[in-house]
């Protein structure tokens, strides 16, 4: 008991952090553990963009950005600890981007009580798209259900619009994350008449022999994958081993990074993955990034991830956060915004081609507009394909919209259930 108190006291003295910048952004990253290989590039991109703004523009609207990093290890308990430790950092955290569906579920009630916006870009609770119920949660520009629909739409396009009687297997991470698309795929299978086979893979996903054996037996026409971390690499390797045609294997955007395909070598050529932003590093912004951040030795991590898929995604998330801050600053006429004003900025965020070109990122992401009712954007995404010889993912389609008819019905249903469960009266 005494020991406990001593430890507690010692911890108390060390908790206080002296940073006093104006805009505090928390990066809840994971650079360790089974998902570290994917967490590192995302976090590097997220941090480097803010470093760039600090170095090149002196922050946003003249306010420097104070970036606080906290390691979660993709673990919900550590995620909660990080949230509690950082929410009051500086003048109060403006936005959380946990990059973990599990942690997102923990944080949704907490951020709603504390009044801090949560941006779950392409992950998290899909029905948070309904801003009337989830006031503090945003998941623009696309969510899992959009992703499920994108994959099916792509398959429809390949088959001339008719996939009746086709077999589609879903290999998924057996967690909240992996289960998200199931309901949408079930609805879509009713609509388009394909047969859906579900194959769960348990955390962390290193053992998938039985699932791929079943795929070999079932001979599905297409395989979809909702994987993360080491599960992706193993799945792609197993697909290679059973000689499954790679162009019929489509991963969600979290299953489409260089880390996932490179271990399988040339055999992974043709693997497809969805994405909601553009790829590669041939953008004017990257010249600045190299000049001000990487070459100046200020890059986060090892600085070797620039231009990789997940780096771009982390940078895209940071860019959207920065644009929301700008929007909030304009709306409220103050530069040192608080979390509530940040929320207003996110709710009125509009991404246009002109805006992205001005930032040096032409055609980097889809155009979308956030409203009070719609926190999830318009559901545009594209399909990319791995070119093993060139060593890069390339977009093979334009951005196209998901099946809004099915998804909006599901969003309304699930968010209404959440509202009833937690006693929220929907409204704007």
């Amino acid at each position: 008991m005494k020991q406990r108190l001593m430890t507690a006291l010692a911890a108390a003295m060390l908790v206080a952090s002296p940073a006093l910048a104006e805009l505090t952004i928390v990066d809840t990253s994971y650079r360790t553990g089974p998902y570290g290989a994917n967490g590192i590039p995302f976090s590097d991109g997220y941090q480097d963009y803010f470093t760039l703004l600090n170095e090149r523009d002196g922050g946003i609207g003249g306010e420097k950005i104070n970036l606080v990093e906290c390691e979660t290890g993709y673990n919900t308990e550590k995620g909660v600890e990080c949230y509690e430790a950082t929410k009051a950092a500086g003048n109060g955290a403006l936005i959380y981007q946990p990059l973990s569906t599990g942690i997102t579920y923990q944080l949704i009630p907490k951020v709603s009580a504390d009044g801090i916006p949560l941006h779950t870009m392409g992950y998290g609770r899909t029905s948070a798209k309904n801003g009337e119920v989830f006031k503090w949660v945003f998941n623009y520009p696309a969510n899992y259900w959009d992703g499920a629909s994108h994959a099916i739409t792509h398959i429809l396009d390949l088959n001339g619009g008719d996939i009746n009687g086709k077999k589609i297997s879903l290999v998924y991470h057996n967690s909240a994350y992996g289960k998200e698309p199931i309901r949408t795929l079930e609805e879509l299978s009713k609509k388009h008449g394909f047969e859906l086979i579900l194959l769960p893979v348990d955390h962390p996903g290193q053992e998938q022999k039985s699932q791929w054996l079943q795929i070999r037996r079932d001979r599905p026409d297409y395989v979809l994958m909702w994987g993360w971390g080491v599960m992706n690499q193993v799945a792609i390797q197993e697909a290679v081993n059973i000689r499954f045609p790679m162009e019929n294997f489509i991963g969600i955007w979290w299953s489409g990074s260089e880390n996932d395909v490179k271990p399988a070598g040339d055999a992974a050529n043709g693997y497809k993955a969805l994405t909601f932003h553009n790829l590669g590093d041939e953008y004017p912004l990257y010249d600045d990034m190299r000049k001000y951040v990487v070459d100046a030795g200020k890059a986060a991590g090892a600085g070797d991830q620039v231009g990789s898929v997940l780096y771009n995604r982390g940078m895209y998330a940071a860019m959207l956060a920065a644009e929301a801050i700008k929007t909030a600053q304009e709306m409220h006429g103050v530069t040192a915004i608080n979390a509530a004003q940040m929320r207003d900025g996110m709710e009125n965020l509009e991404m246009t081609e002109a805006k992205m070109t001005a930032l040096g990122l032409p055609n980097f992401g889809p155009e979308f507009k956030v409203t009070c009712q719609n926190h999830g954007g318009n559901g545009f995404g594209a399909v990319s394909q791995w070119d093993a010889a060139a060593g890069e993912f390339k977009l093979i389609t334009d951005y196209f919209q998901s099946d809004q008819e099915i998804i909006s019905a599901l969003v309304a249903e699930d968010s209404a259930a959440f509202a009833a469960e937690s006693g929220i009266t929907p409204g704007c």
Binding site: K2, R4, E69, Q106, N174, S175, K179
Partner: protein
């Protein structure tokens, strides 16, 4: 000097067999209780409650539960994570099915449900022991996690398979949900922890505990002197399951608020609680607290020292944390194989003689 029995006369049997026979220990115990109940709630904030106190209190209950089974009765169990999941899902089903009943009773009932499940999985212990029993309980771990992942009824058919604790209150003060004041969750768990410790302490020094220890030390000899192994082993599983279930329910409802069975109650959790018991000291209630404190507080302390205090990169700090905690576990176990509780006991013996050790 001040830490000794001399002058503290025991005039009744109750006094003679009390938990803290030394006056100083007794007062220290009362002081800790007063501080925990009357001081900490006034100074606690969100960070302290969520990062330090709740995990410490909840893991302490789990460690006490497992200590009864492993430390007192000698039945190795690797199913703690699964049994905590039973407590969590039982409390979730109860909370959503009977919203009008107080969460206090739901938590206790969840402990009861876990107790029954634990007895079922304890049945093989009548035939097998040691490593073989560990493997049988390992099966319970995987089976239970699989069950809660597979059967929609347990998570009320939610799309993601997550369970989320609805907001519930006791005496009008919110306990679960995000809007609760930090002290309410803390006090709620503290009540359960203190009650668990007192019950466990009294069970283990009474007849039930003596039977368990007899079975642990030599089951055949225990049987010959009249201990019924069936009853002794199954009561150990039942009591252990009860505490572990309560800790699982609190872990889900009060601490995390939303859990996913594979992530929150995986095999790692079983090992974590087992390590707490081993590092703290087998067969000691104090050891359960010490072990929980060691494995819950040390990583938080290290993180705050390395990242907050010294400003090191978070990934480096996270890796160092593994190394330091791992090294400390090994050092502690080499220095004192009977755990922190034994260190504490030795320290007390020395204190008694201090400052004249001869």
């Amino acid at each position: 000097m001040f830490y000794r029995e001399a002058g503290d006369f025991k005039t009744s049997y109750e006094q003679d067999s009390q938990t803290f026979p030394i006056k100083f220990d007794r007062y220290r115990y009362y002081a800790v209780l007063v501080a925990a109940f009357a001081v900490v709630p006034f100074v606690i904030n969100d960070y302290w409650v969520n990062a330090v106190f709740l995990p410490f209190l909840i893991y302490s209950i789990a460690a006490i539960g497992l200590n009864i089974l492993v430390g007192y009765c000698g039945q190795v169990s690797l199913g703690t994570g699964g049994f905590m999941a039973v407590g969590a899902y039982a409390s979730y089903k109860l909370m959503t099915a009977f919203p009008e009943v107080s969460i206090f009773f739901h938590i206790i009932l969840a402990g009861g449900v876990t107790s029954i499940v634990c007895v079922l999985f304890g049945l093989p212990s009548l035939r097998i022991k040691g490593f073989y029993l560990a493997v049988a309980t390992l099966a319970a771990q995987f089976f239970l996690v699989w069950l809660f992942n597979r059967v929609g009824w347990f998570y009320n058919y939610s799309a993601s398979g997550q369970i989320t604790a609805p907001e519930r209150s006791v005496f009008g003060v919110a306990i679960t949900g995000a809007a609760n004041p930090p002290w309410s969750a803390y006090l709620f768990c503290l009540v359960f922890t203190v009650a668990a410790a007192i019950i466990a302490r009294n069970l283990t020094r009474g007849m039930a505990g003596r039977k368990w220890m007899a079975i642990r030390d030599m089951d055949i000899a225990a049987e010959i002197i009249g201990v019924n192994p069936l009853k002794a082993k199954l009561t150990a599983f039942a009591v252990s399951g009860f505490f572990v279930g309560i800790s699982g329910a609190l872990f889900f409802a009060v601490y995390l608020g939303a859990v996913e069975v594979g992530e929150a109650f995986g095999i790692n959790k079983s090992f974590l609680v087992l390590f707490m018991v081993i590092i703290g000291g087998l067969g000691s209630i104090f050891g359960s607290f010490a072990g929980a404190a060691f494995l819950v507080l040390l990583p938080v302390l290290l993180k705050n020292t390395l990242v907050g205090g010294l400003g090191w990169p978070t990934d480096l700090a996270a890796h160092l944390e593994f190394i330091i905690v791992g090294a400390l576990i090994i050092i502690f176990l080499i220095a004192e194989p009977h755990g922190l509780a034994q260190l504490w006991r030795v320290a007390k013996e020395k204190l008694r003689l201090w400052p004249f050790p001869h």
